[in-house]
Symmetry: C2
Subunit: 332 residues, 2 copies
């Protein structure tokens, strides 16, 4: 038979209220009594019925995290921080990886909704108005990160456009006359109606930076594999003058670096390289990549804290934009 | 008011059974009717009550994953695979990171138990008999990975001892006379009663390999930071003759490599280096690390599949030991 709080109170000869204080870590109880009660709870194999408790409180103390995948090291770094912050506040997390597939995202969110999570941290890949309305109708607090979805949902991010504009200015200051930009394919994603907010912002930053610097030689490499992009990059490299390549993220930059090195093209002697995100793995990669840095810990804490505020106040909305800076490596 | 299956059946003028067929993706319904019902379900904001449904079926279609952390890239790679496999079977996952803290592990498992997950994939850090009994009493299927806990629980892993023995043999075949071993601190973890199964197996493999090769110059570097370990490694290096260092995992090996390179000590010219795990990040690190490889995808699928078997059959138990091989890099 299942042990109840009453069983523990009888066993320890204390009131039900005292048992409740001990089990829920509330004040008004001596540490000795608390210890006794916790030991009894263990001996009697007491397990609170969380489903019942959560229905009573209207909270499941669970949040959902709907993320893309873990291939880009940036994401597990961020989830590490989110998980730690949530745990600090007594919350546990559901993890759903969408692999940037809209159906997986929608199914995942529906599932979380059915499981009555208290809120969701969403890296959105969906974006259309119908989808936004669907999410609003669910009535669950949602905070967005990486891609923006709608002003209705709080958002955490970096001013990607300005950061990429600054990156171009920085590269130009190093004497580069040609700057190419590497990004995942945008057109096909847009055709599918997917959310490309961050990709767009970063691309726009590159274009703005080029315009500001008076550089007309725009080269956006979005189609094909990293190998194919590297082929295009390195074509006529010696004829062109000092050339650099700016990548939308470090994960791409280290792949480009690998391709260049396997072709015996030296970075930065023959071509300059810059990334974005300052992922942990850069510590181990030579030459040290020049990149854009922001605090992943701050980002993870901010998105989790905004979600807690949204859980408290369903009308709450805010944007949290993180500071960034350029990390001067050895790749430019 | 909450939309029910009856509302949808009225709205579409079909039977409740037909609605159920459409919503649960069962055969015996035309694709046209199915489409109509799914659209109606969306328009009417229908959300199945998963809690009710799971109580009826006795399943929540949720599994818990209790892992250490994401600092070692091996773990997110594995979780990626586990999540994908679970999703294939219609399961969602709770993620709990314990940071190798026993209290966090125990609290996490209790929480999962309260949330009535169907099963748990556990990277155990706890190990004592009382804890094993506690887990057994919970009556939830648990499959262990990385560290063994008790023969009662299915386990997935690599024959680490044999693999490390083979690693030593391989290093010796490359002409090395001195082989040091780098591992996290074992003694303090053992004193705290923590589970060091994998650490022990790998260390034992090194010791066995050294014995078999007739090398008596055992050097196990477990205390201090990576910098301090590297100091000890490189002391008298030129006097000693051809020296290599074997690390318990790639995550340590790339840190040692970084320390060596920052001291201008060349790998493999001045010192040889070997890791274990063949993590993805190695692709981008020069020189290419020699390491032990096994299939992370196979490991993730195996542990998830064993858990599904345990959910079907509470008496099920098994050990799944993966094949491994040596990846010949440029670091020896």
């Amino acid at each position: 038979m299942k042990t109840t709080i009453k069983d523990i109170s009888k066993y320890c000869n204390v009131s039900v209220g005292t048992v409740d204080r001990a089990l829920n870590n509330r004040p008004g109880i001596s540490s000795q009594t608390k210890e006794k009660i916790l030991q009894a709870a263990e001996q009697l194999s007491y397990h609170p019925n969380h489903t019942g408790r959560s229905l009573a409180k209207g909270k499941t103390m669970t949040i959902g995290v709907v993320c893309f995948d873990f291939y880009n090291y940036f994401f597990p770094e961020l989830i590490n921080t989110i998980e730690a912050r949530a745990k600090e506040k007594g919350y546990f997390i559901y993890l759903i990886l969408t692999h940037r597939n809209f159906d997986m995202e929608r199914d995942g969110i529906r599932y979380l909704c059915e499981r009555q999570v208290d809120g969701i941290i969403l890296f959105p890949i969906g974006m259309d108005k119908g989808y936004v309305r669907e999410l609003e109708r669910m009535g669950i607090p949602i905070v967005t990160i990486y891609n923006k979805l709608d002003s209705h949902f709080p958002f955490v991010g970096v001013n990607d456009r300005q950061a990429m504009e600054d990156a171009v200015e920085y590269i130009v200051s190093k004497g580069y006359k040609h700057i190419s930009y590497v990004t995942p394919e945008l057109e096909s994603q847009e055709k599918e109606g997917l959310n490309t907010y961050t990709l767009q912002q970063r691309l726009q930053g590159y274009l703005n930076g080029m315009k500001k610097a008076g550089l007309e030689d725009i080269q956006v490499l979005e189609k094909g594999s990293i190998e194919e992009k590297t082929d295009l990059l390195t074509k006529n490299i010696s004829l062109k003058g000092k050339t650099a390549v700016l990548c939308l993220c470090d994960s791409y930059a280290i792949q480009v670096l690998d391709c260049l090195q396997s072709r015996k093209i030296s970075v930065p002697d023959q071509i300059g390289l810059m990334g974005y995100d300052n992922i942990d793995a850069l510590k181990y990669i030579k030459p040290r990549l020049t990149t854009i840095k922001y605090s992943v810990m701050q980002m993870g804490q901010a998105v989790t804290d905004l979600l807690f505020q949204s859980i408290q106040d369903p009308e709450f909305t805010a944007e949290y934009i993180l500071d960034y800076s350029i990390v001067e490596g050895d790749s430019l």
